[in-house]
Amino acid sequence: MDESDGSSRMEALAPELLKEILEKCSLNDQLRLRSTCRRIKTCLTPHISHLSAPEECTITRMSLRKLHNSIHISVDIDDVAVAQHFIALGDRAIRQWKRKDNEKVRSIYRYRFTDTDLFN
């Protein structure tokens, strides 16, 4: 078990031992640990249900609003796993923010939309 065989390095630890260590961490620590290295990310991600967007989900409220030179899409996120579906939506927005109302979180996305664009 000398250092040359790699067993004494974190990234070379046997998968079952890595899993044994990681499953003893809290959810928040597991989420942060995913940015340590690919191996840890691969080991943790399938076991964190919050990160698995469901194939089918129900959105209780989604609205579209036209403002000067922009449109706003707001979505009520009732489930953190559902929020994974909206990451790509946020990537295309010029601005994104959240509003918390008790247990409910409303995510708002702002997109550039000039007055000459069609809005039907």
Binding site: M1, M10, A14, I21, L31, C37, I48, H50, I77
Partner: protein
Amino acid sequence: MVLITLVSSDEQNFPVERELLKQSGTIETLIVNMNLDDEDTDAAAMPIPLPNVKGDVLEKVIQWMEHHKGDPVKEGDNEDNNAEIVVPQWDDDFFKPAMYGSKHLELTVAASYLDIKNLLTLSCKAISNTFKGKTGPQIREEWGVPNEFTPEEEEAIRKENEWSE
């Protein structure tokens, strides 16, 4: 008191009280299979080679087993994953000098190889405790893990985490 000699990978001999070795599933199986408990045979004096454990690590394992002599030995993998594992103060102090270093990992690997379930559980928990509240880059620095992620991949992880933290 019956002593059994363990031989580390670097050929160091460690005479250990027979009773202590009941904590190690691997050694216990070897003792039974090799009839080392039978004092009437030559086998009783036979040393047990442990080619996967270095002397300094084996010394720590024996020190841990001595402290935990008489503790109930955990059997099987029926651990309740929901139960919070608390590392007792003695064990915390025992692991501390090796924190953030390869020694703690070597001890964990040895506990797994020797099938000492209580040591493995506490050692893993002590490592996981060192991760508390820390970011990936902080852990990379402490444990000497190279950064494999591009800034784009790091950003993607941050976005995925955003809703759950």
